[in-house]
Symmetry: C2
Subunit: 351 residues, 2 copies
DNA sequence: TTGTACGCGTTATCAC
DNA sequence: GTGATAACGCGTACAA
């Protein structure tokens, strides 16, 4: 018959992996059937108090930890949410992922993390492996994905949330804001300060489509105003403070009478700020500076940085909400599936 | 595309989960047995080229994605590595996690992320759920854990790597450096610059034991030198730029003739720098400043920041190496299980 | 309320 | 090299 009908407590050193305490062990010790334990675990109120007591005690004395792998197989949907961001080093996404992780953890959901590094092929590969975990949901960054990615996701039937961008039609659900509008806000603000020679400096815009959209939204609005010039300058590398310094210098060379700058990111703005200081350029008297992100130094630097806050934690919260309601409740319909978290321009000293 | 003429197309409103293409489907289409497909997937060289061809084609025409949940159950060890850090918002850990994710992804391992928020109980809960995934390895931050956490981990037999700290005996393997030594380096550097009224300013040190150890290492070394005074000042909140400004002010109040400061973190150093600028204090003439972390602004700020680089990406790489070798090769023995990534003091203008 | 039986999709051990 | 077959640990109708 079966080899393990006899209780073989310990000593199986064949395998070094020993998730030995199973639900059945708990059931035996509590003198109930495994299914009662299973039921107790999911709906404690559905079993008799007496049995519940016994089971609870058995669990704690055995140190039982449910095997989510087996559970996921049986339930055909595991308690994982796969999150794919360009890079977790980016403070924006770190904030969102952090919030998301906390919110999901309260419901017993785990976060599976992947980095696309702004590559659609990378993303596709990540989505593929993500799906092989039969995740409870998949969270993607932005709306630009390979057609294969969309197909995979749609075919899987898994709830999908695209975050940090709104505009085109999402695969399933979306939480974010319009990047062109962010650019437009920056432009309007600079125009309202009577700046006439404008530039948008950004990094990695050949890959970071959202930054590119902020740039084009900026340029479009600026050019509709009364200005002398408006340029967009890109640094192909990562968005760092140093890139900001480089970009400021390029802007100074290229643009005569430069007096207004929007940055794709507060880090770049900080670099520009430092470079201005080095060159004896006064902010905002000579040049006004608008950032993006409201990172934690933005309020404290000198001068403090006018910036646009995208609310990365709010995005995280809303994504979590969508996921949760789409898991146990019904999936939201229509407009409820697209959430605009907006953006806020915070005026400080740099303008 | 077409080719999807299976039995029940879609539109089944009942269940939305449909991981329909299984290994058996592939086997049927390739006219081999499921076992052969499984074998091919794990050791392609072990099946005949002819069969391999057929299987490969079947896989791509069906768009088969292996179900890792089922695989994990059968193999009793899933292809996930659980990583638990205090917070992913912290640039240090973001860097490590990012590196780790990339390295592990090349071997088909996924990252399951959790935040302990510097709480041992939180960490314990995370470890518990992590283990329920039968992970290939668990990565923890630091060496301080609840005894229950250690017990769980040891009993599980899963490879464990503790990172970002060295000193006490690790549960299994460890990659990091000595925090007291970092503090000592900062102190020696300040002493070598003839600073005599020293202070260590840090945030959240009641929870962040590593920062606290840097502080005590600093104090110990400083007090062994010829100094007038040495204080440690803590801000209970998070380590932000703003906290740095607050801390600088507290230090100025408390310490007469203050002329040397070490910070638990570059963000705090930056805040201190800004505050000095606001108060007309010249760095390094009036006060010398040493940071920790070498964050990306540290080289660019004004004055550039002398700091200590802990090499978060190197830690990530080494952790990955340990995990991989401990998965397919044998587990390293003895000293090879503890890797000191050291620290480097980078002297810049702020001292 | 509780127990029985079966299946989830894969891996691993053998015979062939 | 290849293919039956038995687990893997749990969810879930159903039956009791």
């Amino acid at each position: 018959m079966d080899a393990d009908s006899s209780l073989q407590p310990r000593g199986t050193r064949k395998r070094r992996k020993m998730q030995r305490v199973t639900m059945m062990d708990v059931a035996k010790l509590a003198a109930v059937s495994p299914s009662t334990v299973s039921l107790y675990l999911r709906k404690p109120a559905a079993v008799s108090p007496a049995a519940g007591q016994e089971i609870a005690r058995a669990i704690s004395t055995l140190g039982y930890v449910p095997n989510l792998v087996a559970g996921g197989l049986a339930a055909a949907s595991s308690k994982v949410v796969s999150i794919i961001v360009p890079s977790i080093r980016n403070a924006f996404f770190a904030e969102t992922v952090s919030t998301l992780q906390s919110e999901l953890a309260t419901e017993g959901l785990q976060v599976l993390l992947g980095h696309s590094e702004y590559g659609e092929d990378q993303e596709e590969a990540l989505v593929r492996t993500a799906l092989s975990w039969a995740p409870a949901a998949v969270v993607l960054t932005g709306l630009s994905h390979s057609t294969e990615t969309r197909k995979l996701l749609q075919a899987s039937g898994v709830p999908v949330v695209e975050m940090w961008e709104l505009g085109a039609r999402p695969i399933d659900m979306a939480v974010g804001f319009s990047h062109p509008q962010v650019g437009a806000s920056a432009a309007r603000h600079l125009l309202s300060k009577n700046r006439r020679s404008l530039t948008f400096i950004g990094a990695r815009m050949q890959e970071d489509h959202r930054a590119a959209k902020r740039a084009s939204g900026f340029a479009e609005t600026a050019r509709a105003g009364e200005i002398l010039s408006c340029e967009v300058i890109n640094h192909p590398g990562a968005a760092t403070v140093e890139a900001g310094s480089l970009l400021l210098n390029r802007a100074l060379q290229q643009i005569p009478k430069l007096d207004g700058i929007a940055c794709s990111n507060d880090l770049i703005a900080l670099g520009a700020l430092f470079e201005c200081q080095r060159q004896g350029i006064t902010v905002p008297d000579d040049i006004a500076l608008v950032g993006f992100g409201d990172l934690d130094f933005s309020a404290s630097c000198i001068p403090s940085l006018t910036t646009i806050r995208p609310s990365g934690d709010l995005i995280g919260k809303e994504v979590a909400r969508l996921i949760l309601s789409s898991i146990h409740g019904e999936r939201p319909e229509g407009d409820a599936r697209i959430i605009d978290t907006g953006h806020v321009l915070i005026e400080r000293r740099s303008t």
